[in-house]
């Protein structure tokens, strides 16, 4: 049977999330796959147009419904199941969106899920990290079952643009629950690059000492055109907002340059940066575990080094 992959698009109502382009690349690893991107939204047209441009996409389906204005897993899951009826695979990014939605889809389909796909070995054989990335397991599914998976964005390049897939309206006739209601979202808006897609990231840990102390990192990041990240200890202490947390339970990122400033390098943190091209560590403790993974290490006091760096970069 030819593979037919449904990718659930992630978006905020106007923009397609870059993680979707990475899921498309993952799907392209399944030989001969037809790749369909489904856009569930109140007004899907703008997002659908962006999805249609991704190279490798065969078709874009729009599922327009006022109930789809906010991504509520309980509302989306039955619609995804309806749209995926004759698909061999259903994928979404392993973001908080995909992690919330896909297991609900898998359960409705009665199928096991493969979380955090990092490599495609065949249409039904995949590799994924477990134990905070300390082991990689190869899993194989029953080829007859629908495969539901989430895609680890840091493992795949974004699909190029330049495609022009046809966009079709799909209608699904399923009853949607009303037991779940969106109230609000508080997203700190800033002009800095997005942590998950930035090519450079400057991250701070507990050593920054306060929200005020963190300002020197923002300042350095601005000079570098970098996004800012944080360790869990820094977030817990209130020095940085939660959406900046990098690691096993935060964001998994793969920038060209990652600078860990005053971060010890706990295993849960390292999980989030394993795929960074170059890791720089600045820490006053030369024995800190972060140096075991750093490509460039500098032992010293961050409060001296960071301002000096900023000056030298100019």
């Amino acid at each position: 049977m030819a593979a037919k992959v449904l990718i659930v698009a992630e978006h905020d109502g106007t923009k397609l999330n870059p993680s979707t382009a990475k899921s498309v690349t993952c799907a392209r690893g399944i030989q001969g796959a037809e790749i369909i991107v489904a856009v569930f939204a109140a007004k899907p047209d703008a997002v659908a147009a962006q999805a249609a441009q991704l190279a490798g996409v065969t078709r874009v389906l729009t599922i327009e419904n006022a109930a789809n204005e906010h991504a509520l897993a309980a509302v989306l899951a039955p619609q995804v199941v309806a749209v995926a009826k004759d698909c061999t695979h259903v994928l979404a990014a392993s973001t908080t969106f995909g992690k919330d939605l896909m297991p609900r889809v898998a359960a409705l389909l009665g199928t096991a899920q493969i979380s955090d796909i990092m490599a495609v070995e065949s249409a039904n054989r995949f590799r994924r990290p477990i134990y905070a990335g300390n082991a990689i397991v190869t899993v194989e599914t029953d080829p007859a079952a629908t495969i539901v998976g989430t895609v680890r964005s840091a493992s795949f390049e974004a699909a190029a643009s330049g495609g022009s897939a046809p966009i079709e309206k799909a209608s699904v006739n399923v009853e949607l629950p009303t037991h779940t209601r969106f109230v609000s979202v508080s997203a700190a808006k800033n002009d800095r690059p997005d942590l998950q897609t930035a090519s450079r990231v400057v991250s701070g840990g507990r050593a920054l000492g306060s929200a005020d102390g963190f300002k020197i990192l923002y300042s350095l990041a601005d000079k570098l055109g970098a996004a800012v990240g944080a360790s869990r200890a820094a977030v817990d202490a209130g020095y940085a907002p939660n959406e900046l947390q990098v690691g096993q339970t935060g964001k998994i990122i793969a920038p060209e340059l990652y600078m860990a400033v005053g971060i010890s390098g706990a295993i849960q943190h390292l999980t989030g940066i394993k795929d960074a091209r170059t890791i720089v560590a600045i820490n006053k403790d030369g024995e800190a575990p972060i140096f075991e993974v750093a490509d460039i290490g500098l032992v010293g006091d961050l409060f001296q080094i960071v301002p000096e760096l900023e000056r030298l970069i100019g």
Binding site: A73, A74, A107, V137, T138, V139, H179, T180, E243, F291
Partner: protein, 249 residues
């Protein structure tokens, strides 16, 4: 009775640096410290606080796994849970199987709230909560950092990639915990003694009518790729030079 059901999974302690067995058949777990999954301690803590505020009358914990899981159930009872259910299952328990078993317990116990961890730190699946909510046909709020209960409803704040999102759901509902929801209490010695007398019921998985079917074949385990050893620079100036050489600035 107003009841909260909490899922407890026994996992390798988060401080252990897990290693893959040389023959690639799994990871080394012999002689390794085992603990309650950290997110489940948070789930239990939240349930206990709700009960202490008068929002619930009973906190029931449940695990699906082999006999040794009873150690973690006893610890959870010592933390303050009222009663434990041990669904006995040997071998791999996939999230869908765990969810099916937990659904049977929900049908029996009729909780108004079910709290599980957002992910178990062994397989990092992050699936059981939403799967269970789907099978139960009830609301889910994943990655919770704040839970407020009022008449028949819950208002829950969740940690999403964009920031913090708040949802309102009708009860009964399922919540999965994020790290910042609360800080779990420590277990005190006298409570460990008391916990020995608390009820712990064992139910074989098949008596619940759930099949322990494993859908995913675990073909092989490998250690992750190691990074190349890096260099040390002595000051900010050298660091800038090194970054320039790599074309990074």
């Amino acid at each position: 009775m107003k009841r909260i059901l909490v899922g407890i999974k026994r996992v390798v302690d988060y401080n252990v640096r897990v290693r893959v067995k040389p023959d690639g058949t799994g990871v080394v777990t012999d002689g390794v410290k085992m603990s309650i999954n950290p997110f489940d301690e948070i789930a239990l803590e939240e349930a206990l606080r709700i009960k202490e505020r008068g929002g619930a009358e009973e906190v029931v914990i449940a695990t699906i796994g082999p006999a040794e899981c009873q150690q973690q159930l006893r610890t959870a009872l010592a933390m303050g849970a009222d009663r434990a259910l041990h669904v006995q299952a040997d071998g791999v328990v996939e999230p869908l199987v765990a969810a099916r078993a937990l659904l049977k317990l929900i049908e029996r116990e009729q909780p108004f709230l079910v709290i599980v961890g957002k992910q178990a730190i062994d397989d990092d699946n992050s699936q059981t909560g939403p799967m269970l909510a789907a099978l139960w046909n009830r609301p889910q709020v994943t990655f919770a950092s704040k839970v407020e209960l009022s008449d028949g409803k819950a208002r829950v704040t969740r940690e999403v990639d964009a920031g913090l999102e708040t949802l309102e759901v009708d009860l009964p509902a399922l919540v999965t915990t994020d790290l910042r929801l609360n800080e779990p209490r420590y277990v005190k010695l006298p409570d460990i003694m008391k916990a020995k007398k608390k009820p712990l019921e064992t139910l074989p998985l098949n008596t619940l009518g759930v099949e322990a079917k494993q859908q995913l074949k675990l073909v092989k385990f490998e250690p992750p790729a190691q990074r190349q050893k890096g260099i040390r620079v002595k000051d900010a100036g050298e660091l800038v030079e090194a970054l320039k050489k790599k074309g990074l600035i």
